[in-house]
C-alpha cells in the first residue's frame, strides 16, 4: 500500500528551551543573553580550539501531545552548524531524545569566521515501508523541530590596526597614551561601505609598559575613546545620524560597529543629538560600563594564549 503524505505534526517553537550554553566547558548562560542571536565575540578567539555545548530541555507534555508516532518510532536530536564565513558545516552525532540533552561541537583553530549558524534538529526514525498514521512523517529523518541560533564572532573586531609608536617627537601628544585616527572619506554615502580596518588606526605610545596595555582598565578606556570618537563623527548632522538609525542601509563592518553602540546607548530617545550635546560625560561612563565586562572576558582569553593585545 502506498502512503501519501499530507504533511505531519511538528513540535511548537516553545516546546524546546535552551537551558544552558557552555564555551570550552565554562557555563556562560549568565553572561550572554540566550536568544536566537548570541554575541560571542568576547568568548572566542580564531586561533583557539573552541567547544560549544548547548543543554536543551524538551517539554515532556508537548512531546507526548504534539507529535504523532507509532510503535517503533524513535526521536533523535542533533546539532549542526554552518559557518557563514568559511561556509563549512559540522554536525554532532545524533542522540536519542530525552527531556534534557547535551549537544556539543568542537571547532578547530581558524576553522570559522564571522558567524556560525547552529541548528538544533529533532527528527524521527522508523522502519521503512511501514504504513504511517495520519499526522506522522512518512520519510525517515523528517525534521520535527528545528531551531536556529547564530553566534556572532570576532572577525570584524580583530582587524583594527593597532600599532605601537614613539610619540617623543610628535608635538602636542608626546605624553599621550594613544592616538586614534579615523580615516573617513568626505562623501558620507561611502561611509556605509567601509571596513573597520580601513577606517580605524590606533597608535599606542611605546613608552607604556605592555603589562599596562594588557590590563582591562587600559583597554576599556581605549575602546571607550574609540567608540566615543566614532559616534562623534555621526552627531554632526541628520544625514550622518540617519546612517546609524536606519538599519536597512546595507552596511559594512565600520558602520555595523558604530551602529551597535548607537543602538545600545540611544535606542528610544527622540533627540539623540541633544543628549549627546548635553550629557557627554554620562555617555562616556555609560560606554565604559557597557564594554568593561566583555573586555575583561576577552582579555582573559588573550592572556591565556600569551598573546596580549599588541
Amino acid at each position: 500500500m502506498k502512503t501519501f503524505s499530507y504533511g505531519y505534526n511538528t513540535l511548537a517553537e516553545k516546546a524546546v528551551r535552551i537551558h544552558k550554553v557552555f564555551f570550552n566547558s565554562r557555563d556562560v548562560s549568565n553572561e550572554i543573553e540566550i536568544t536566537s542571536d548570541i554575541q560571542a565575540s568576547a568568548l572566542w578567539l580564531p586561533s583557539q580550539e573552541t567547544t560549544i555545548k548547548f543543554e536543551i530541555e524538551v517539554d515532556e507534555q508537548a512531546l507526548q501531545t504534539q507529535l504523532t508516532k507509532q510503535d517503533g518510532d524513535a526521536f533523535f536530536v542533533v546539532l549542526r552548524s554552518n559557518c557563514r564565513g568559511t561556509k563549512k558545516q559540522k554536525s554532532s552525532l545524533p542522540q536519542p531524545l530525552t527531556i534534557v540533552n547535551e549537544l556539543e561541537l568542537v571547532f578547530n583553530p581558524f576553522e570559522v569566521s564571522d558567524a556560525i549558524d547552529f541548528y538544533i534538529e529533532i527528527f524521527s526514525n522508523f522502519e521503512d515501508d511501514q504504513d504511517r498514521p495520519f499526522g506522522a512523517p512518512v520519510r525517515k529523518y523528517s525534521i520535527l523541530f528545528s531551531k536556529k541560533i547564530t553566534a556572532h564572532l570576532t572577525g570584524i573586531e580583530s582587524r583594527v590596526n593597532v600599532l605601537t609608536k614613539n610619540f617623543e617627537n610628535i608635538p602636542g601628544i608626546k605624553a599621550a597614551m594613544w592616538n586614534i585616527t579615523l580615516n573617513l572619506p568626505q562623501e558620507i554615502d561611502e561611509w556605509s561601505q567601509l571596513q573597520q580596518s580601513e577606517v580605524v588606526t590606533i597608535e599606542i605610545n611605546n613608552k607604556i609598559d605592555s603589562k599596562v596595555i594588557n590590563s582591562p582598565e587600559f583597554i576599556t578606556l581605549l575602546i571607550t575613546d574609540l567608540i566615543y570618537t566614532s559616534l562623534s563623527k555621526f552627531m554632526v548632522d541628520d544625514d550622518r545620524l540617519t546612517l546609524l538609525q536606519d538599519s536597512e542601509i546595507d552596511s559594512e563592518s565600520w558602520l555595523i560597529f558604530v551602529r551597535q553602540f548607537y543602538n545600545a546607548l540611544f535606542a528610544g530617545y527622540p533627540d539623540p543629538k541633544q543628549i549627546w550635546d548635553e550629557e557627554s560625560s554620562r555617555i562616556r561612563s555609560e560606554i565604559q560600563s557597557k564594554i568593561a565586562p566583555s573586555t575583561r572576558k576577552k582579555l582573559d582569553f588573550l592572556l591565556q594564549e600569551s598573546i596580549g593585545v599588541i
Binding site: P46, S47, F76, V78, L79, R80, N82, C83, G85, T86, K87, K88, Q89, S91, S92, P94, P109, F110, E111, V112, S113, D114, Y119, E121, F123, N125, R139, K140, Y141, S142, I143, G155, S158, R159, V160, N161, V162, E190, Q193, L194, Q195, S197, E198, E252, L302, I307, V309, I310
Partner: protein, 243 residues
C-alpha cells in the same frame, strides 16, 4: 602558526582595478612594498618574500615564464593547473583567512592581477575583488571541499552548480563530493544530457535536503540519497527529451 595575510577592502580594490583598466601599469614588486593594506592584529604578518614566493609558484603551476606578455592560455588549462597546485601555493592560508574577501582582493589586485587577466580578460569586477567568483578564491573553495584531483576534473559550469548553491550543497562536504563523483561517473558513461544534469540535480538535492535532517543520517545514507536524486534527474531529462 598564527599568520596574517594582507587585506585590502573591496572599495580600494575597485579603485585600483579602475586604474589598471585606464592604463596604469602593474608592478607586483612595487605593489608588495607599498603601504595601504591591513593585517589581522594578534598575528605574525606575512613577509614580502613569502608573497613573492606565492607569485613565483603560481607562475610555475601555470607553466609560464616571469615575462609572459603575449602568452595566451585556455581557460580549462588555467583552472586545471591552478586547481592541482592551489593547496601547495597557499599552504599557509587558513580557512579563516581564506574566508576574508580582503585576502583575495589583495592577492588578486596587488600580487596576481596580470595573471588573473590571462583567465578573465574582460576585467569583470567580481573576478578581481573579494567576491566568491574571484579568479583565485573560487579555485581555493573548490579544492578545499573536493580536493585537487576531483576539483580539477569538473567543468566550469558543473562546479558553478555546486559552489554557487552554498546553502546545503557546497558547505556539506559529503553532498558536494557525491554530486561531483556521480557527475564524473555519469559523464564517463557518455551521457549526452550532461550539460543540464548538474543544474537539475543540484536543485533537486537541495529541495530534498530541506525537509530531512541530513545531519542525522549516516554518511553512506546521505551519499545514496544524493546519488539517487542525480540518477532520477538524469531519467527525467531523458524522458523529457524523448517526448
Amino acid at each position: 602558526m598564527n599568520l596574517s595575510y594582507r587585506y585590502i577592502s573591496n572599495n580600494i580594490a575597485v579603485k585600483e582595478l579602475l586604474e589598471y583598466r585606464n592604463g596604469k601599469s602593474f608592478d607586483p614588486i612595487r605593489n608588495i612594498q607599498r603601504p595601504g593594506f591591513h593585517l589581522r592584529s594578534l598575528a605574525v604578518p606575512i613577509t614580502e618574500d613569502r608573497l613573492i614566493e606565492i607569485r613565483e609558484n603560481v607562475l610555475l603551476a601555470l607553466e609560464i615564464p616571469r615575462d609572459f606578455l603575449g602568452i595566451s592560455m585556455t581557460k580549462e588549462n588555467f583552472d586545471r593547473r591552478l586547481t592541482l597546485n592551489c593547496k601547495n601555493i597557499f599552504h599557509d592560508l587558513t580557512e579563516y583567512e581564506a574566508a576574508q574577501p580582503g585576502t583575495w582582493a589583495y592577492i588578486t589586485i596587488r600580487l596576481l592581477y596580470d595573471i588573473a587577466l590571462l583567465r578573465y580578460e574582460d576585467h569583470a569586477d567580481e573576478r578581481y575583488i573579494g567576491k566568491p567568483r574571484n579568479t583565485f578564491w573560487r579555485i581555493w573553495q573548490r579544492v578545499s571541499v573536493l580536493g585537487p584531483e576531483m576539483a580539477s576534473m569538473l567543468q566550469e559550469d558543473e562546479a558553478v552548480q555546486i559552489f554557487e548553491r552554498t546553502g546545503v550543497i557546497a558547505s556539506n562536504q559529503t553532498v558536494a563530493q557525491t554530486l561531483a563523483e556521480t557527475m564524473l561517473e555519469i559523464r564517463e558513461l557518455g551521457n549526452s544530457e550532461i550539460s543540464i544534469l548538474m543544474r537539475e540535480a543540484a536543485k533537486r538535492v537541495r529541495r530534498r535536503l530541506t525537509i530531512i535532517s541530513y545531519a542525522g543520517m549516516q554518511e553512506s545514507e546521505l551519499k545514496n540519497l544524493v546519488k539517487e536524486e542525480m540518477y532520477k534527474s538524469l531519467e527525467q531529462i531523458k524522458d523529457r527529451k524523448n517526448k
